[in-house]
Amino acid sequence: MEIAIPQPVERENYLNKEYGVWSWLLTTDHKRIALLYLVSITFFFFIGGFFALLIRLELLTPAGDLVQADTYNKLFTMHGMVMVFFFLIPSIPAVLGNFLVPMMIGAKDLAFPRINLLSWYLYIIGGVFMLHCMLTGGVDTGWTFYAPFSTNFSNTKIVEAGIGIFIAGFSSILTGLNFVVTIHRMRAPGMTWSRLPLFIWAHYATSIIQLLGTPVIAVTIVLVACERALHLGIFDPKLGGDPVLFQHLFWFYSHPAVYIMILPSMGVVTEIIACFSRKRIFGYSFVAFSSIAIAVFGFLVWAHHMFVAGISVYSALVFSFLSYAVALPSAIKVFNWTATLYKGSIRYDAPMLYAFGFLGLFTIGGLTGLFLAALGINVHVTDTYFVVAHFHYIMVGGAVMGYLGGMHFWWPKISGKLYPEGWARLAALIVFIGFNLTFFPQFVLGYLGMPRRYYDYSHMPEFQVLNVLSTAGATVLGVGYLLPMVYFLWSMRYGKPASDNPWNAAGLEWKTTSPPPTFNFDEEPVVTWEAYNYEELDAPPHTQEVPVAR
């Protein structure tokens, strides 16, 4: 209970309400759980990044002289598994989604707070299995663990890694379940579907994919484990099984998984672009429905990862066509973001720099996806660095940029402090430069024929120059990622206190204190305005506070 005292006292908020380790480890407050996730996924991000560093170091020279071939196989496998399952998939939903979804809809918490906590514990348990697997030898199959290598031939700890991914998968399913039920049932009075922030639509679409896709890879992992233990023959050609069936089941989830990784980022970028152009999003319903369309269409295209695996050519034609179709809703979003920027009052704060980076890099990544969807091109560039560059443009240039932009945008709300804007803009620039230097050469390398997952390219020494550029870029990128870690931590202690709405942004989360109280709002909000009401927010009598942190 708060007691009114004349002297200034720190207001009670979710951070200072209770202290002590157990108040964090047993919390059901969605905001605290979001921070638990923040720490965990940052940890796994650096582990995945460490493996990336070793990969890039090996590829500095054509000869395989840093590590042995088997070790290299483990490096790219663990890099992929950690980054996909323990960083990218949870990242925005588990951190920003958990923190913001209830607040943006005017609720006190998610629908199932205890399941939310369980979700984090499952993530941690899955992570422990994965860590143990890595520390005791790792896996060498590639993150895609194709049969029959993974089921019959590899001597590495596939079942253990599989258990880790299975359990983390349930964490993902429960997060999705929580979001869907929350968005349907817990909206504040007046918060109709068409007034929801597009961040919410994006997370709703993401949750659909998490719910319907993840169980399929879960059961596939079960089959792989059974196959390894009992030699069942389900994927073993010697026993009548079909390894391509594994790929069908694997990619049925893993393709929609990439939309789990990008949709939340698109939601973040939408919020940032609206705020820093001071404009309503152009074509709200188009952006909202395109999120749902991406979720649904994303389930129709998985075999474009299998064009050369042995599927029928008719099947390949159908999946190629559908892969073109799935680009349409993403393109619609890019058009709408661009139209929002047009004639907006653009501010170049750090979140907006990340959003601009996202726009350009996601577009490049997405367009190169269309190249890959064309069967004729796919045959030549599949399993080359072209594919690696394509998905890193989307995952890193897109998803991670969106994540960083979102962290900067909502940091004042989460921590109650302002980060140093100058350093943040510098870091955004370093990330952008480092990213392009790392991955653009890889498009060229792939097109010229350098295969992926090779530790030794001494039969093509002319590729060294581009590889050196790529490794140099990776170093710059690493610096760019370390800077926010440093200044965010710095700002928690030394940053200027943030007001309720330092960006003068639209959205219910900005109508409560920074940081928010445990139950988010002192009074249940009643919504009577449309989303992105920037004209009202910028109306003349309103004195705007423009924070500049030094």
Partner: protein, 236 residues
């Protein structure tokens, strides 16, 4: 956790003891729980779905071998188990009705009978598994399926490797289903205990409803498993 900082909808009314603090009304809580269980069941559809996908593909590829393998499992036991689960679904629905109409004894009885029927199901399954083990039809080192005729194709014998795929899918699918039954028994034992303690009333019996949804779902999975696994080709 104190709510006193809030001026919300619910602090004026009497709190139902089962109302959780982050919900405004009991109806919201009930609707959220119900939607949550339905969404979870959707995920379970996809979980089993992967196995059904593998099954359908191999059944089409190796129809004859699958027919021979299917014929070797006991269809009468399978049909009996189907009937057992159907009866248990009835008792579940009666349990929900009992909770809705404040019939405590009936509620407790129906919950207990449901669990009993679940145990009968698992018992029959155990018998079936034992039979398969004795006939060396369990995939693995001691699997053997030689000289088994393909139904409808006199003179042709099933390929043991393809038959092993059938049995692999049989054990994984029925095993996963049995695991879900066991979890269901766990859920129902909690429901039975809570009902015995008097936690459920006509106003609040959501756990029984959503536990029931789970049980019906497990029944539906078996409704499909029975014809697919046991009745591929039963002709002499």
């Amino acid at each position: 956790m104190p709510d006193s900082t809030l001026v919300g909808l619910h602090h004026e009314e009497e709190h139902h003891p089962e109302l959780l603090h982050h919900f405004a009304t009991e109806e919201q809580q009930r609707d959220a729980s119900s939607l949550g269980m339905w969404v979870f069941l959707a995920t379970e559809v996809m979980f089993f779905g992967g196995l059904f996908c593998a099954y359908l593909i191999y059944r089409r590829l190796y129809f004859g071998d699958f027919g021979a393998a299917s014929k070797s499992i006991d269809a009468t036991l399978g049909a009996t188990n189907t009937a057992v689960l159907i009866c248990s679904s009835l008792t579940v629905v009666l349990a929900v009705w009992a909770a809705q109409t404040a019939r405590r004894t009936l509620l407790l009885t129906m919950l207990a009978v449901t669990m009993l029927l679940g145990c009968v199901f698992l018992g029959i399954k155990a018998v079936e598994y034992k039979d398969k083990f004795e006939e060396h039809h369990v995939p693995g080192a001691s699997f053997s399926f030689n000289n088994v005729p393909i139904p409808g194709h006199p003179g042709e014998y099933a390929n043991p490797r393809h038959a092993q795929i059938f049995f692999s899918l049989y054990f994984v699918m029925t095993g996963l289903h049995a695991l879900h039954m066991i979890i269901g028994l766990g859920i129902f034992s909690w429901l039975l205990y809570a009902a015995w303690k008097g936690r459920f009333t006509p106003e609040y019996h959501t756990p029984i409803e959503i536990g029931g949804l789970y049980w019906h779902f497990v029944d539906i999975i078996w409704i499909y498993l029975f014809p697919l696994l046991y009745l591929i080709d039963r002709h002499p």
